[in-house]
Amino acid sequence: MNLILISVLSLGGIGALSAVILYFIAQKFHVVEDSRIDKVEAALPGANCGGCGFPGCRAFAAACVKTDSLESLACPVGGTPTMEKVASILGKTAISVEPHVAVVRCGGSCEYRERTNRYDGVKSCAIVHNLYGGETDCSWGCLGYGDCVNSCTFDAIHINPLTLLPEVDEEKCTACGACVKACPKNIIQLRKKGHKSRRIYVNCVNQDKGAVNRKVCKVACIGCSKCFNVCSYDAISINNNLAYIDDKKCTLCRKCVEVCPTNCILELNFPPRKPRVEEISDIVLNG
């Protein structure tokens, strides 16, 4: 009995003494922080993805509190609704952020781009890029080993096992930019998500001459300029045998998609084309 009493008292005493000491130390070393940082951090998505350019949501929250204007600060994951919440907490004005999404600009799947040699080594895009142009004869195109997949913290990009190309899940993609940085060939780009999630882009980054490309990949851009000629919004430019569509100027009219001879300009999330009036009357007249 004595033993139990002594044990309880001594251990209890140590515990109580430690608690008192810790209390005083906590008080003395307390870090004074602006309480708004906690409030702002609570309004953020909490993904800690770094897409805003800061190391973690708390750092972004601190930057928001410190700055005078929220103009240069945006959370790509939360988008405009989150920035508006942050603005209302801090009494500042939020800018509306145009939602962006990651776009993989290569269509060279196994079907269209022949594999001419076999790579045996570490399956990492960065390492293979350092070594040579890849298993196909197009040294610009996607290597398919998934450095982009490994870098994504939102599970928004996966390699399709049939085409060996990455595919972006636009519901999950937050345009944080991790995959853009991870791709050693600069194939992935952040582009405007577009009205009703519609977007048009050139699905190729190959800068070799058209004649060479044709033999190497069936859906490569050959720099023929047909798209450039047909665009009335000055949104397309041709540099180094490669066409590029500026998403700020593109009005989604789809004329370039129709004229591309190699089908390398992609249109996403559009409804299927209605046959034109002339075609319908053609069918009616000729049975």
Partner: protein, 320 residues
């Protein structure tokens, strides 16, 4: 024409593999195993076979059902762990205790950390020390050596040389007996000669380097030598210390375990000296008659520190 293979240089390999390294260790253990079978007979056979089979089985089961990874038993490291565990046990140890030892060695000492390459402590020693602390009586009754002894668990026991020294019991075996292994002790530790043959083989195959065993043995020799010179009545001679107990087995086969030993030559020497010092301290001043297992496990804990701070000699070191 088939597609050409493209891979980064180099395009040629020595042909070495984990399995070959393990096979080399097993071959080096053959002389000690033959001595164990000779002096400890049926017990040695049963304990060693039980240990090896249990280790392989447990690794296979854990890898398949718990870790859900690929089969790893083909690299033979479980066989080596099993044999080394057996070498650290008395040959009359009941087989169910051996199985528990194997489970702890493989399950706790190796697989819980993620398998080969990830464990910080020598798995066979983890198993052995666990058994020593859990079954102190069974683990410290060693059979006396009897050629081709058919008895297993009821083999006649006697004190070993080290217990005799610790408890001042009297005669220790002759130098020749200690050298060839005609004395009591754990199965694999008795024959200095057989273990040295194994050491020679390992050096020839370049499986291990000389740094760890020599630094351990030299440290033990020097330290016990100093105490022997101070007081030859109380302390045994350094040769007795080197040839009894598990120091030979520990220095050559247990401390040199790849995964748990340092990666640089100087680091290995520091590690060896540490093991030597702790072993001698436990033997001379501790309550256990033998301290090698504890010494090695303690120094295993220091290996990451040694690896961080002791770097190899660099080519073209710029002296500031």
């Amino acid at each position: 024409m088939n597609k050409l293979v493209v891979s980064p240089a180099p395009h040629v390999h020595s042909g070495n593999s984990i399995q070959k390294e393990m096979e080399s260790v097993l071959i080096a253990l053959v002389p000690a195993y033959l001595v164990a079978l000779y002096y400890f007979g049926a017990g040695a056979l049963i304990v060693s076979v039980t240990s090896i089979l249990s280790c392989v089985l447990f690794e296979y089961l854990i890898q398949k059902f718990i870790l859900k990874g690929e089969k790893t038993i083909t690299d033979c490291s479980a066989v080596v762990t099993g044999l080394l565990l057996a070498f650290n046990l008395p040959s009359n140890l009941p087989f169910w205790i051996v199985i528990i030892g194997a489970l702890v060695a493989i399950g706790v000492g190796k697989m819980s950390f993620g398998g080969l390459g990830n464990n910080p402590f020598n798995p066979a020693l983890v198993g052995r020390v666990f058994l020593l602390i859990s079954f102190p009586v069974q683990m410290t009754s060693w059979p006396r050596p009897m050629p081709f002894n058919p008895a297993y668990m009821d083999a006649e026991t006697s004190a070993t040389a080290l217990t005799a020294l610790k408890e001042h019991l009297g005669n220790i075996p002759s130098t020749l007996d200690m050298f060839i292994g005609n004395m009591g002790g754990s199965m694999g530790e008795v024959s200095t000669l057989a273990l040295l043959l194994g050491f020679g083989y390992l050096l020839y195959r370049r499986t291990i380097s000389w740094h760890i065993p020599i630094s351990i043995l030299l440290t033990v020799f020097v330290m016990t030598g100093i105490f022997y010179l101070i007081d030859p009545q109380t302390y045994a001679s350094p040769l007795v210390h080197l040839m009894t107990g598990g120091i030979m087995l520990g220095a050559i086969f247990m401390a040199t375990d790849f995964v748990t030993s340092p990666m640089t030559k100087l680091g290995m020497i520091v590690y060896g000296i540490g093991i030597g010092i702790i072993t001698v301290v436990i033997r001379l001043f501790g309550s256990y008659p033998e301290g090698v297992s504890f010494a090695i496990l303690i120094m295993n804990a220091f290996t990451p520190l040694i690896n961080t701070y002791i770097k190899p000699k660099r080519f073209g070191e710029v002296r500031k």
